[in-house]
């Protein structure tokens, strides 16, 4: 172990270890689904025995982006839509970190859509939680990429003419190796899924349904939900892309009709993560790059020894 790496994985941790000195009530409205995500994340990390030091939580901008303020760990509250590129570089630089990225549906599927597609495609070993409340919360209720067609808001007064994005289908197509949907109203399932997603080696994407009672009164649509894994009507092979894709399609079509299916939709446990692929082709060192800066015995290469082609 290098002088740098102090992570002690055997330490006992409890839920409360992830509670910083400040309270989310300061910014989140009463009844907001974001509380559910925070609770599930704390529970999942405690289940996994992760110490706050070894977690880097990278968030975007939105009510959802404030997650990092209320979760005690190393945190990076970044800019709107850009959590993923920051998170994945941190993971490449220090693969020992448990890197979780989070943001809203506007943040992740709108402004950050490009990064979402490419992070999924590359299968970085990080977990990505998208708070899907079908609305822009922080900027006061504008239509988001997941708002249903016909949805009226100040920016779409005639009702949206756009079909909502299909987050899970897009994610699968882009290349995610773990895709699930869960809901803030179902904390137990949410916690289980988070544990599985964080443990998964590869890009895990969770479309996390959250209600926004302040700007999206239709949030009640998330109740009741059906857990696909618990219901015999929905039998499918979660590791089969085609079957998973059909299930996602069905679920995403039904969502706006009031039937909410949640659970694990796709899980490819054997696909190597991007870091592993990169190592395999010789583009990444075996040891975490960060450690080298703390290793006094490391002999740094000099450009002087690389100049041959210029002679």
């Amino acid at each position: 172990m290098s002088a740098f790496n102090a992570i002690d994985s055997d330490r006992e941790v409890e839920r409360d270890d992830y509670t910083p000195g400040i309270e989310p009530q300061a910014t989140w409205c009463p009844g907001c689904g974001d509380f559910g995500v925070l609770k599930a994340l704390k529970g999942a990390m405690a289940d996994l025995g992760k110490s706050p030091e070894e977690i880097l939580l990278v968030t975007g901008i939105g009510c959802s982006g404030k997650l990092s303020s209320y979760f005690e760990s190393y945190g990076f509250h970044t800019i709107h839509g850009r959590a993923l590129p920051i998170a994945r570089a941190a993971k490449l630089a220090n693969p020992d970190l448990e890197v979780v990225a989070a943001g809203g549906d506007g943040d992740g599927y709108g402004i950050g859509g490009n990064h979402f597609v490419h992070t999924a495609r590359e299968n970085h070993d990080i977990t990505y939680i998208v708070f899907n409340n079908e609305i822009f919360g922080l900027t006061k209720g504008q239509t988001s990429p997941t708002s249903p067609m016909g949805h009226k808001s100040k920016t779409q007064p005639h009702g949206s003419a756009k079909a909502p994005i299909r987050p899970m289908s897009s994610s699968l197509t882009a290349g995610s190796s773990y895709v699930a949907r869960t809901a803030a109203v179902n904390p137990n399932q949410a916690q289980e899924i988070l544990v599985e997603a964080i443990e998964h080696n590869g890009f895990s994407h969770i479309d996390f349904l959250t209600q926004c009672p302040t700007w999206n009164k239709d949030a009640k649509q998330y109740v009741p939900y059906i857990d696909v894994q618990e219901n015999e009507d929905y039998e499918f092979d979660v590791s089969d892309r085609k079957e998973a894709s059909e299930m996602m399609y069905e679920s995403e079509s039904a969502l706006y009709e009031g039937e909410v299916l949640t659970g694990r939709f796709y899980h490819a446990p054997d696909r190597p993560s991007y870091g592993e692929e990169k190592r395999a082709v010789g583009e990444m060192p075996d040891e975490p790059l960060v450690e080298r800066y703390h290793d006094d015995s490391y002999e740094w290469e000099r450009s002087y020894d690389l100049l041959d082609v210029h002679k």
């Binding site: 740098f4 002690d8 400040i22 990076f76 850009r82 220090n94 990064h115 583009e283 990444m284 790059l289």
Partner: protein
């Protein structure tokens, strides 16, 4: 003394002009000469007129100079593609016709008879006579075809060049043997030889001969972009993220080639916002990281750049300017992004901008940029341009014989964190209002370190990293971040002096410039002084924080000044006026923005304009001092 050689090879883009000239330049360097190359190419991959100049002398060469004295006109093979003729038109005379204006009196012309018909060049005969040019038509294509393949006519051209200059073929043969092998090498050597011989028995009418020189030590031939990459590597940079854009790509590709060899990581990503964000993410995690782009791509980085400022994440960004606005002229140099780089992103700028002038400075200042970024937790930008990016120069190899310094600057070890300031809840104070050592830098911890947990956020934040709009906290944090710039200014004064002076100290006239034109300015200054003008120059590299003291002293010491820069609105002059708040009536602008770098004579004429009221060169624009 033998006359210097300024050799221009011209042909179609995609015809291998670039590699041929690089090899020739390298051969000249190896045989003891100092070299400098200037590259002119159109924004397309194949076809279109292109040329490269190689200037070689026994003395060090700092610029492309004025004009040239040897033209090798190869013809444009792509223009002759019958299928594409409709689009390209009949361009084959261009490598001859387009290059004659700058050919010096008494110069030598070799053209490919197989591809170029001089009777189509307007007034060719008259011009040859008038300028005392010496013309050698050669069937280079025929020679190449006979011995190998038509494309190897470049080699034939170089062989002929060597014969005409009385330059030892062995130098070129050695280089070829290093670069290729097998049949390709054999064929090239054959072509080289017969071309050499085909010229040898002719009667020469010209006097131009290759100068001779000898270096005391081993040389390397590098571009500004190459030097930036090596500076970054020696400073311990092991992470780069980028998206291709000319000319920044040259830094990116060299780093990508070397990083895996030294256990580093290079990432080509989806766009420049991501590229800069990745560099920030890697740096946040504790690696020395960089990104960069050219104008349009840098525009996208504006947003993450602000994040690095607010979160005080060290990062180095490279900006390789090309002519704008927008996509502008992708392969042409300009210095029009200066203001963009200084002020882009929301809020008050807290960043460092350094502008190297040449290959050596590109190396040194990239290292300085990393050192400042990691010591002061601030983004540092290396600003240069397409000219410096592509020009090759020989440098003593020993120049690069330096110690690496991978130090992470103001980053704490775990033991130090244990002693550091923590707030009541036990949280590490990452952003203290008044750091204990009296500086404006609050040391950072790294994710994974025991006891150092904090939140980095692009929102204004308290010492612990909590989002805050408290007015007192806001002012304290703003002042500390801005205060770093003042500290850096002092540090730059004390430890580094990036400004370059040239000419007699007591001169009446001053020339101010920044970036890649310093070499050209030096040449102009020498000529002006030889002509009896008292002129000196300052090349300013520290743009933010501006080298206030140095620029002030310089401007105070002269009667009148000329500010030379490659853009249409005088952005550098504007910066000086804005920062110093005076000297407006002393500063005249000499501007060029046609996509071509300055030549020394234009600067000479510019200075004469203020000294004697002469007209500046038609390719430049002269803006008199404010108040005139």
């Amino acid at each position: 003394m033998t006359e210097e050689l300024a050799w221009r090879i011209a042909g179609g883009s995609g015809d291998g002009i670039d590699s041929t000239s690089q090899n020739f330049a390298k051969a000249l360097m190896r045989s003891g000469l100092h070299v400098f190359t200037h590259r002119h190419y159109p924004s397309r991959i194949r076809g279109g007129h292109t040329y490269v100049e190689v200037r070689a002398d026994e003395e060090p060469v700092e610029s492309r100079g004025d004009g040239y004295n040897f033209l090798l006109a190869l013809g444009d093979s792509f223009a002759r593609n019958p299928k594409e003729e409709a689009y390209y038109g009949n361009e084959e005379v261009k490598p001859l016709a387009e290059n004659l204006d700058e050919l010096r009196e008494g110069g030598v012309i070799v053209y490919d008879e197989g591809l170029v018909d001089p009777s189509e060049v307007p007034d060719f005969e008259e011009r040859v006579e008038e300028n005392d040019w010496h013309v050698y038509p050669l069937d280079l294509r025929g020679l190449a075809r006979e011995k190998g393949r038509e494309v190897m006519r470049n080699t034939a051209g170089v062989g002929a060049t060597a014969a005409l200059l009385d330059y030892e073929l062995q130098h070129i043969e050695d280089l070829m043997a290093d670069a290729m092998s097998g049949e390709v090498l054999e064929t090239n050597l054959d072509i080289l030889e017969i071309a050499y011989e085909s010229v040898q028995d002719r009667e020469f009418t010209h006097d131009l001969r290759a100068p001779e020189g000898s270096h005391d030590e081993e040389q390397v031939l590098l571009s500004g972009s190459n030097a930036i990459a090596y500076g970054a590597l020696d400073e311990g940079c092991r992470f780069i993220a980028g998206y291709p854009m000319t000319p920044w790509t040259e830094v990116f590709t060299l780093m990508t080639q070397h990083l895996p060899k030294v256990g580093g990581i290079s990432e080509q990503v989806e766009d420049e916002i991501a590229a800069a964000a990745l560099a920030i993410g890697a740096s946040h995690a504790g690696v020395k990281a960089m990104s960069g782009s050219s104008g349009g791509g840098f525009a996208l980085m504006s947003e993450p750049l602000g994040l690095a400022e607010m979160t005080e994440t060290p990062v180095v960004l490279i900006e390789a300017m090309r002519a704008g606005p927008s996509t502008g002229m992708p392969t042409k140099p300009e210095q029009g992004d200066l203001e963009h780089v200084l002020y882009t992103s929301q809020g008050d700028s807290t960043r460092v901008v350094l502008a190297p002038a040449n290959v050596k400075e590109a190396y040194d200042q990239t290292r300085a940029a990393f050192r400042i970024a990691y010591d002061y937790q601030i983004p540092a930008i290396v600003l240069y341009d397409q000219k410096l990016s592509g020009e090759l120069r020989n440098v003593d190899e020993s120049f690069f014989d330096r110690e690496p310094s991978p130090d992470l600057g103001s980053t704490l070890s775990e033991d130090e964190i244990a002693e550091a300031a923590h707030h009541a809840s036990g949280k590490f104070q990452r952003f203290q209002h008044e750091p204990e050592d009296g500086s404006n830098v609050s040391p950072r911890s790294l994710p994974g370190q025991e006891g150092g947990r904090y939140l980095a956020t692009g929102n204004e934040h308290t010492p612990e990293g909590h989002i805050s709009e408290d007015p007192r906290n806001r002012v304290a944090q703003m002042e500390r971040r801005l205060g770093k710039l003042e500290d850096i200014r002092d540090d730059l004064d004390a430890e580094y002096d990036h400004q370059t002076y040239h000419g007699p100290e007591d001169a009446d006239y001053g020339i101010l410039t920044f970036g890649s034109h310093q070499g050209t300015v030096h040449e102009a200054v020498d000529r002006l002084n030889a002509d009896g003008h008292g002129v000196k120059s300052i090349g300013v590299s520290d743009l933010m924080p501006l080298a206030e003291r140095e620029v002030t002293e310089f401007l105070e010491s002269v009667d009148e000044a000329l500010v030379v820069e490659m853009n249409a609105t005088g952005q550098f002059r504007g910066l000086i006026q804005r920062e110093l708040g005076r000297f407006g009536p002393k500063m005249n602008s000499l501007l060029k923005y046609n996509g071509e770098p300055f030549e020394p004579h234009e600067i000479v004429e510019g200075l004469e304009t203020i000294a004697e009221g002469d007209e500046p060169a038609p390719t430049t624009r002269f803006v008199p001092a404010a108040g005139d």
